[in-house]
């Protein structure tokens, strides 16, 4: 535990130091090296907890009433902590070179200070054992990430994004405040460990608390329809911050929900259904909106909504297993969900770093301006395609393994008799649809950006990113493959975390885990066969072509004499059949001015897909709130005397209430 405290001190210390330093590059290296060194320090206790299963504790009294600086690192915390420090460290190293290109006058030092603070607060969130400490860390995390989102604060779109993010995160925090207050009142303590041990004594509150946690933590995690801040804020932030926010920060929402479930006692069946419903909505709508985007980072942000949906599906299946007393179902669902937490962090981090390199090299995130980058940026291209295959759940990469566990859980639920069967089949149909749509979306993202010919001059002059940006991507891509092939080993690491989450004793989880491990071993075999077959066939192809004539020509264009790069299929046209099919959900708006006359000069087409939840629900809601509140304007006259009167009236009212 001392190591973790040192890591926290190192992160905050180097962050503060970076904020004070004069030279930008020195500040960047100080902060990034602090992050990396702290990550190593923090990973040691986390790994040891996952291996030995014993929770580590640290507690110090705090002057705030009913609060204590109490940390507790159990298996569930350790799992999330490992994910957080791993991705953050690589993103920090990447960020050094990425932010070098920022023009003078940008708040680079502030960004580094906030980055380290964000990391420290995320780490405290997952290890806090006191509700007050948890909320403070939660708030620091929100503010630090807000300051990072508004890095390019001279742009109006970034200001809007930051504002939406700030409002959304605080609305979520309001639900959490109520959640923690109810729990504290019912149990008489603020200690998370005691909540988990004693459980709440008032079962009538459990349902309410579950909904509060679902909304409060769900708004951070990005469940539909609470996701509206996510596609705004994640693209606005610098790319290495997007990687941290999309890869790991939203996972603190999942952690919070998982931790809350340990307090609330045995789950009734409807909790599982609710999570499955939330997961299906987020998953399917998330990937559909991703398909309709033209902005590379916005597309990736919507995919985070989709993947959070998959995690919710896993949690839902696991909860159904808990309420049906089916340990295998529990282990498959929760294990799949927790594994997907890690997997998504790895490949989404990788994809955002890749998108950052593209942005760095070309200055645009618009898919329609890109193309042909694989030739100019081979490293970014190869790692991006690995991330794309992994996020689509394609074997032999890691995304397949976690989706596989959730699939098998759903199949078991479906095959069994009882009321869970229907939900099992819904999960399978939903996952299959999500998988197909995700493959379509990443074929678009990779194909349009990296393949074909450059669609604009910007893309034509792109250059590969430097070494410090390159190797974090290579490491993440290697983890994608390694965690896919080494799935049985990784699964052993997640077992104690599932034990903590489900409340089952370790021996009870060990048996179903051994079973699941038995199914993962043939997957490893199949992955190795696949790779061997690829190598063998590549060798065969080379042998077949040896000594033969190999010609080079233009792409066959059916005899058309003057093809241009502008005639290639675009991102919008690639996605059009699918977006047209789901147009009633997406409400894509087309702005077209067709060619007219005998000698048409100009024609124009543009389409954009605004977020339905924001346009149809939140925007009218906030307009209503605003118009309602503007009626109270008469209270605010700008006269100090009047405000003093309000204070006096308020005090009198409080006194009367107290005396009553």
């Amino acid at each position: 535990m001392t190591l973790l405290l040192w890591a926290l001190a190192l992160w905050i210390g180097t962050g503060a130091l970076a904020g004070l330093m004069r030279r930008r590059s020195a500040a960047a290296w100080t902060a990034a090296l602090g992050v990396a060194a702290g990550a190593v320090l923090a990973a040691i206790p986390a790994v040891s907890v996952l291996i030995h299963g014993e929770a580590l504790r640290y507690s110090r009294p705090w002057s705030i009433p009913s609060a204590a600086f109490a940390l507790r690192l159990d298996a569930l915390s350790a799992w999330f902590l490992l994910v957080i420090v791993g991705v953050s460290a690589l993103a920090a190293v990447y960020g050094v070179q990425y932010l070098e290109a920022a023009p003078a006058g940008k708040p680079v030092r502030r960004a580094w200070c906030c980055f380290n603070l964000l990391l420290a607060s995320m780490a405290v969130v997952v290890v806090a054992s006191n509700a007050m400490l948890f909320l403070v860390a939660w708030e620091v995390m929100a503010v630090a990430s807000f300051l990072l989102v508004t890095f390019d604060d001279e742009q109006e779109s970034v200001q809007t994004a930051g504002w939406i993010y700030l409002v959304a995160t605080h609305l979520g925090a309001a639900f959490l405040l109520v959640f923690f207050m109810v729990l504290a009142r019912e149990t008489g303590t603020m200690d998370l460990e005691q909540w988990a041990g004693a459980g709440i004594q008032a079962p009538q509150w459990a349902g309410v608390l579950f909904v509060l946690a679902l909304v409060g933590f769900g708004s951070k995690a990005g469940f539909m329809p609470l996701h509206v801040w996510l596609p705004e804020a994640h693209p606005a932030a610098p790319s290495h911050v997007s990687a941290v926010m999309s890869g790991v920060m939203i996972k603190t929402g999942i952690y919070g929900l998982a931790r809350a479930l340990t307090f609330l006692g045995p789950p009734p069946l409807w909790w599982g259904w609710t999570l499955v419903g939330v997961g299906l909505t987020s998953g399917i709508l998330g990937v559909l909106f991703a398909l309709a985007q033209h902005d590379l980072k916005r597309l990736l942000a919507y995919h985070s909504v989709e993947n959070i949906g998959i995690i919710a599906l896993g949690l839902g299946v696991g909860l159904m297993g808990m309420s049906l007393q089916a340990p295998v179902l529990t282990v498959l669902g929760l294990g799949g969900a927790l594994l997907h937490v890690m997997n998504h962090a790895v490949f989404k981090g990788l994809l955002f770093l890749g998108a950052g390199s593209v942005l760095h090299a070309t200055g645009t995130r618009d898919l329609e301006q890109l193309g042909g980058l694989l030739k100019r940026m081979p490293w970014t291209g190869v790692t991006f395609v690995v991330g794309a295959a992994a996020i689509c759940g394609l074997p032999p990469f890691n995304g397949f393994v976690s989706e596989f566990l959730i699939y098998v859980g759903a199949f078991r639920a479906g095959v069994a008799s009882g009321s869970a069967a229907l939900w099992g089949w819904l999960v399978i149909g939903g996952l299959a649809l999500i998988g197909g749509l995700a493959a379509a979306c990443f074929a678009k993202a990779f194909g349009i950006v990296f393949l074909g010919e450059a669609r604009s001059e910007l893309a034509g002059k792109a250059h590969e990113c430097g070494g410090a940006m390159r190797w974090p991507m290579v490491v993440l891509a290697a983890v994608c493959l390694g965690a896919g092939l080494g799935a049985p080993v990784v699964l052993r690491g997640v077992a104690p975390a599932v034990g903590t989450l489900s409340g089952l004793p370790l021996p009870a989880v060990a048996e179903p885990f051994a079973q699941a491990g038995g199914w993962l071993r043939p997957i490893t075999t199949a992955g190795l066969v696949l790779i061997t077959a690829m190598v063998a066939l590549a060798w065969l192809r080379r042998r077949l072509l040896e000594g033969r004539e190999i010609g080079a020509a233009g792409t066959w264009d059916c005899g058309y004499a003057r093809p241009t790069a502008r005639m290639q299929y675009t991102a919008s046209s690639f996605a059009q059949p699918l977006t047209a099919l789901f147009r009633s959900l997406l409400r894509t708006r087309d702005h077209a001015a067709g060619p007219s006359g005998l000698f048409p000069v100009q024609a124009r087409f543009a389409s954009h897909t605004p977020d339905v939840c924001q346009e149809g629900f939140f925007a009218p809601l906030f307009r209503g709130v605003q118009s309602g509140l503007s009626r109270l304007r008469w209270l605010q006259q700008g006269t100090v005397q009047l405000y003093l009167l309000y204070i006096a009236l308020g005090l009198v009212a409080l006194l009367i209430w107290k005396l009553r």
């Binding site: 078991r412 493959a439 199949a526 696949l530 077959a533 299929y569």
Partner: protein
């Protein structure tokens, strides 16, 4: 795993081009022609593998890797599909998911190879391919789910072996599954009524246009991979339809091979008597297949 388990992949890799030959012969007979030899696809592959290749200057390694990776993926998938009671070499709970995703990997690399050429034609084909398959995937998994539900097994080998004694009880559900699987097989293999394998240069087609730029050994890999894919997906239908699990392994294998040839004849007949559907109708067909599978699931729910 017994020694017979080597047979499903070997048969798939060895006999799949024959299926294409049978389909072509059937179409020829329907059209009143004599048609090429049944073994013509083998000759074609042999010819292609001994040729040089022409590559577009636009393309990168992705274009060259597409056919190789696609064939490797579908080749790995042959390890998962049993023939009746003859179990596949790799059989474990949930292997049907791996099967579906290996085919997904094959499609992904084919689509990327198509986009690598920068051709509008191939982009269009790629776009339609992902559109069709995104809708076919739920139908495939739900249809296989019906068999899993009826037999209470989660591996393809266990499911199809279990059908021997459960099959009759599941009668109506299995009939629905067969229709759903047939639609999926036709769609996934770019067959009429979803796609037309005979047209190469029309805007109507999907799969064929994606591989327009491949030549020589690469085209050979593409054609061979497509044949193997037809075999493994077709085997799902044959395994569901015929009571292969009863009797000896020899009998089971013989029935399965007969069934596969019969399926090829059926596909050839469908291609001869039907026209390709309009593109806008295809989603309805595939969603219909998913709906049939869902109805079959409801029939089996206890």
């Amino acid at each position: 795993m017994n020694s017979l388990s080597i047979l499903p992949p070997v048969l798939a890799l060895g006999l799949s081009p024959l299926l294409i030959g049978v389909i072509q012969r059937t179409k020829a007979v329907f059209a009143g022609r004599k048609g090429p030899s049944l073994f013509q696809p083998y000759f074609d592959l042999w010819k292609l593998w001994r040729k040089g290749a022409v590559y577009s200057r636009t393309t990168t390694w992705v274009f060259r890797a597409g056919p190789v990776m696609g064939l490797a993926a579908v080749g790995t998938a042959t390890l998962l599909v049993p023939i009746g009671s003859v179990a596949a070499p790799l059989a474990f709970a949930g292997d049907l998911v791996l099967f579906a995703y290996l085919l997904g990997l094959m499609r992904f690399v084919t689509v990327l190879a198509a986009l690598d050429t920068g051709s509008a034609f191939e982009g269009m084909g790629a776009s339609r391919e992902v559109w069709v398959s995104a809708l076919a995937e739920p139908a495939l998994l739900l249809a296989l789910g019906v068999v899993a539900q009826g037999t209470n097994a989660l591996s393809l080998s266990g499911m199809f072996a279990g059908l021997a004694d459960q099959g009759l009880k599941m009668g109506p559900a299995l009939a629905l599954v067969l229709v759903a699987l047939l639609i999926v097989v036709l769609a996934e293999n770019a067959r009429i009524p979803v796609d037309d394998p005979a047209t190469h240069l029309e805007l109507t087609m999907i799969h064929e246009v994606m591989v327009l730029d491949h030549s020589g050994p690469d085209l050979g890999f593409v054609l061979y991979g497509a044949a193997v894919k037809l075999w493994v997906l077709g085997l799902l239908i044959v395994n569901t339809l015929l009571p292969l699990g009863t009797g000896s392994a020899t009998w089971s294998l013989a029935m399965a091979l007969g069934g596969m040839l019969g399926l090829a004849v059926v596909i050839g007949a469908i291609e001869s008597v039907m026209a390709r559907l309009r593109l806008v109708v295809i989603p309805q067909l595939l969603v219909g297949a998913g709906a049939l599978a869902a109805v079959a699931l409801m029939l089996g729910m206890r």
